[in-house]
């Protein structure tokens, strides 16, 4: 163990959580851009193309910040987590390299075509570049989640004579069910966020009585996709994800749910504050037996609590518990909200329902919060392991890097990201206030 570990962890959490804000934007907006570009090209609908171009500008800003904040992450495995890289690099490096070679090239080459090529390439190639952008961004998401899924639930490896973890089957690593459900859930979360952004911008235009053609389009598409995504986030993807966690990481599951004692017919805590000292929830509101049912499909099933595991295998309970409950709570609210909005849309009342438009506009940041909270539940809940069951986080940092260095670089990153975040917000808000350019077809 070395003294730099704390600042290494803070640095990683800071940088990865900052980075993740921007892939949410790109993975969430890409499908809308592709849809508008293709339908606009086919139907010769100038306003659809203008919508695509407008969302493309927001996408490009997300992409730019995503790229600059993503590169440090890849290098951090070597700079800050050298012991982890030596031990597990044979496996972890594979999907990361695949991401660079198969996804990032694809995305950035076609983003160049999409942004600069409008008048240089044919209409068909232009439309193709929008689809490629979508594919590319979703593919990068896949490889990175596969990396993380392996760290959550290692498969397809063996131990070499020198004690290192070596990859035994690339296919097993990429196609593990854990990775599949995690990816499906992550993509759904990003799509949900993208849909809420689109609907939120549309609401802003309708409320301000400007760009109303676009406002209606954005609200319509955003609400429908948002409703679908919020249902899929709960079932099947959220449910299956929880199931994988129950089977493979029961301690994390107990911490997420705040189950301190092993019990039959475990209740689902809707709210309540964990008290780790006395091993109980304070002021809980329970739905009896529900948790047993959710986890095992049986109301009387026994659910293992934290007391079944030695204390040094417990993750930080409070953070895991709250993060998980924030995600699930918000997820439920999104489904309700988008459901009501869809109902109003079908009754043709939505565009005039200013109260609902206000809610939709103000809801924009919340899917981001849900996404980040989900990651905190998942990553903090994995502790004390960096590779679940195989390698502890405390044994993973670079042996030659000292705390003084990592504190310095953490402060540096915080400063750079602060500036970057402010610039990003400024430029995005500016694009939104400029708005799409209406055309006569």
């Amino acid at each position: 163990m070395n003294g730099a570990i704390l600042s290494d962890r803070i640095q990683f959490a800071l940088t990865v959580m900052f980075h993740y804000l921007f892939p949410i934007g790109t993975m969430g907006l890409a499908p809308f851009i592709a849809w508008y570009t293709v339908s606009g090209t086919r139907a010769r609908d100038a306003n659809a193309l203008a919508s695509a171009e407008f969302l493309g500008k927001i996408f490009a800003l997300n992409f730019a910040v995503g790229v600059v904040s993503g590169i440090p992450l890849e290098f951090q495995f070597g700079t800050n987590w050298a012991a982890f890289s030596v031990k597990a690099g044979s496996v972890v490096g594979q999907p990361l390299a695949l991401e660079g070679i198969y996804a990032f090239f694809f995305e950035s080459v076609f983003l160049g075509v999409f942004l600069y090529g409008r008048r240089r390439v044919s209409a068909r190639f232009y439309a193709f570049s929008a689809i490629a952008l979508w594919l590319g961004s979703w593919l990068s998401g896949f490889f990175i989640v596969a990396t993380n899924a392996w760290m959550q639930h290692p498969v397809g490896y063996h131990f070499a004579a020198n004690g290192r973890i070596e990859i035994a089957s690339l296919r097993t690593v990429l196609l593990s069910p854990f990775a599949f459900w995690q990816y499906a859930h992550v993509i759904t979360g990003a799509l949900l966020a993208g849909a809420f952004v689109v609907a939120g911008i549309g609401s802003y235009y309708l409320l301000g009585r400007r760009n109303e053609i676009f406002g209606q389009r954005f609200v319509r598409v955003g609400v429908i996709v948002g409703f679908a995504a919020s249902l899929i986030a709960i079932f099947p993807t959220g449910d299956r994800n929880a199931n994988e966690v129950t089977r493979n990481q029961p301690v994390k599951f107990a911490a997420m749910e705040g189950i301190f004692k092993t019990q039959r017919g475990a209740p689902e805590a809707i709210i309540g504050m964990p008290d780790t000292q006395h091993g109980r929830l304070i002021d809980p509101v329970y739905v009896p037996d529900l948790l047993s049912y959710l986890a095992y499909g049986n109301f009387r099933a026994s659910v293992k609590g934290l007391d079944s595991y030695p204390a040094d295998l417990h993750p930080p309970v409070e953070l895991t518990y709250y993060a998980y409950h924030v995600m699930v709570g918000l997820g439920t609210l999104f489904a309700l909200l988008a459901g009501i909005a869809t109902y109003l849309l079908l009754r043709r009342k939505l565009y005039a329902a200013r109260w609902m438009l206000w809610i939709l506009m103000l809801a924009m940041p919340f899917p981001y919060i849900a996404n980040e909270a989900g990651w905190i539940a998942s990553e903090v809940g994995r502790q004390p392991w960096i590779v679940y069951g195989l390698l502890r986080t405390s044994a993973s940092a670079s042996p030659t890097v000292v705390a003084g260095e990592t504190v310095f670089t953490t402060i540096g990153f915080a400063g750079v990201y602060f500036v970057l975040g402010v610039l990003f917000l400024l430029l995005v808000l500016r694009e939104i206030s400029l708005g799409p350019v209406e055309r006569t077809a």
Partner: protein
């Protein structure tokens, strides 16, 4: 297999140097050549659609190193901790400058990002050169393969020489690219700059070759003199050929030949130890194991071919018209 994996790694790094090299070079020359605000915008537009794709090569090369030689990745990256982190901030500054400059039509805003872009590009070229110099010279490693030197020990005379050489060579590369894609060399001032730069690069090339023979006596035969010879021919083509596209191609060959020479010098080490002869991490002891090396090398090589095909095709369709005709809808412009 280990040699194939090493070769693949060198190919990725070489592609990075040749491709991102020209936009780094354009950056290093950014304040010297284009004078007016408009000229600067045009100059940036020539690299606008490409720089990000070029930069992916370093991400991919990092990934390939990580996947195939994890121990070398860990040792080098944690050993070069501060310089690398600072390099990352420079990369970030450059990316921001390229992407954000065009968003406001305001001179102050433009000036700020122009200077950021030029400064970050120049320092990056130096940092990369110093890093490469250290890898060729070897770095002090302990018995577990971790770096034991200090930050100051990375700034030795040889590495600094390589750093300057890298800066000069990339600046020349950027100039030949700019000359090919825009009218930037039209003035006498620019012509003179090109000539001086060329002479400096020639001198640095000679000095670096001599120094390399001293710090790291050659281990394998023919490639070691063929690569520098090819580089020399290419360098003369850069100066005396008439066709501008050919000049840029020659400059690319020049850089590629240098990278081949560097790779051949350190082989069979991925990260030699300093002083020379004290071992280091070879392509065998740093490797990712049998399946990892095999699967990685095959899958990455296939990926490389795919990227090369669609990258070239889309670059061709993008290059059909002159760059200055069409500004981007966002980004540099």
């Amino acid at each position: 297999m280990n040699t194939a994996a090493f070769t693949l790694l060198a190919v990725f790094l070489g592609a990075y140097v040749v491709l991102d090299g020209y936009d780094l070079g354009v950056g290093a020359m950014h304040l010297l050549l284009p004078r007016s605000d408009d000229e600067r915008a045009t100059s940036l537009a020539t690299i606008g659609p490409f720089w990000n794709g070029n930069e992916v090569w370093i991400i991919a090369a990092g990934g390939v190193l990580f996947a195939l030689f994890p121990q070398a990745y860990a040792a080098a990256f944690s050993g070069f901790y501060l310089p690398l982190t600072i390099g990352l901030w420079l990369l970030m500054g450059r990316g921001m400058a390229l992407e954000l400059r065009g968003h406001f039509a305001n001179d102050l805003w433009h000036d700020f990002w122009d200077v950021t872009f030029a400064a970050c590009s120049t320092m990056l070229a130096l940092v990369f050169g110093v890093a490469l110099g250290n890898v060729v010279r070897g770095v002090p490693l302990d018995s577990n393969g971790y770096f034991t030197g200090t930050f100051a020990s990375l700034l030795n005379w040889y590495a600094i020489l390589v750093g300057l050489f890298a800066l000069g060579a990339l600046a020349l590369h950027g100039l030949t690219f700019a000359a090919w894609r825009s009218a930037v060399l039209a003035t006498d001032h620019a012509q003179r700059l090109l000539q001086y730069l060329w002479i400096a690069v020639l001198a640095l090339f000679a000095a670096t070759t001599w120094a390399t023979l001293r710090v790291h006596p050659p281990t394998i035969g023919p490639i070691l003199w063929m690569a520098p010879a090819a580089a020399l021919c290419a360098l003369f083509t850069v100066r005396f050929a008439r066709n501008r596209a050919l000049r840029f191609a020659a400059s690319s060959v020049f850089l590629a030949a240098l990278m081949i020479a560097a790779a051949a010098t350190i082989y069979p080490y991925v990260l030699p130890s300093y002083p020379v002869g004290s071992g280091g991490l070879t392509i065998y002891d740093a490797s990712a194991g049998v399946h990892g090396l095999f699967a990685g090398t095959v899958v990455f090589a296939i990926g490389f071919c795919i990227v090369a095909v669609y990258g070239t095709l889309s670059a061709r369709s993008m290059l059909r018209k002159s760059d200055s005709l069409d500004g981007p809808s966002t980004g540099a412009g």
